[in-house]
């Protein structure tokens, strides 16, 4: 099973700051990696797919990079609505297996 490790677990920043979130896989997932944002009481929302492609409606301040085992999500100039939990997900082995990281809480 491909395990995704996200760091840090919690990131404490202020509006206007830049955030860098990390996702590391224990084996290569090429660029089959997605990022999701989840707010309390809501379903996750797709932000980035295939490592660096923004989903429809994702603001340009969200940027995904990486390939192989190391990926980052950078959010420049944080807006108040960006404070949430962010998850990465790999689909390199899907079907039949896809896995998620345990999340980074941006507070």
């Amino acid at each position: 099973e491909i395990v995704l490790t996200q760091s840090p677990a919690t990131l404490s920043l202020s509006p206007g700051d830049s955030a860098t979130l990390s996702c590391t896989a224990n084996e290569s997932v090429t660029t089959y990696l997605a990022w999701y944002q989840q707010k309390p009481g809501q379903a996750p929302r797709l932000l980035i797919h295939d490592a660096s492609s923004r989903a429809t409606g994702t603001p340009p301040r969200f940027r995904g990079r990486g390939s192989g085992t190391d990926f980052t999500l950078t959010i420049s100039s944080l807006e108040p609505e960006d404070f949430a939990i962010y998850y990465c997900q790999q689909r390199a082995t899907w079907p039949p297996e896809t896995t998620f990281g345990h999340g980074t809480k941006l507070e």
Partner: protein, 131 residues
Amino acid sequence: QVQLQQSGPGLVKPSQTLSLTCAISGELVSSNTAAWNWIRQSPSRGLEWLGTTFYRSKWYYEYAASVKGRIAINPETSKNHVSLQLVSVTPEDTAVYYCARAPLYYDYLWETYRAGAFDPWGQGTPVTVSS
């Protein structure tokens, strides 16, 4: 624009069957460019993909090893929905359950079907397994 609307009970007794439905609007469940998934989320297990179904001349099904043997995902073309059944539930199956769409395509290099990221998601159904 695809929208997913979930329904089903929020409380299930141990050893009984959890049944949820995901009504699809904006696309046919039998679309050959979509895979329909169930995912759950709990504090102990995080986000956990449970299974998928998709149609390419016939129906395909894939299930996570953690629930294989207890799970069934069934498309219902007449109602344009997809259902989840999880039998013999225990308190460990307590979670928020989501349905989600993934775009489907054929990877000619690897000669296999692949699906993209999950988008959109249903609103989620909190399910508690308790007597």
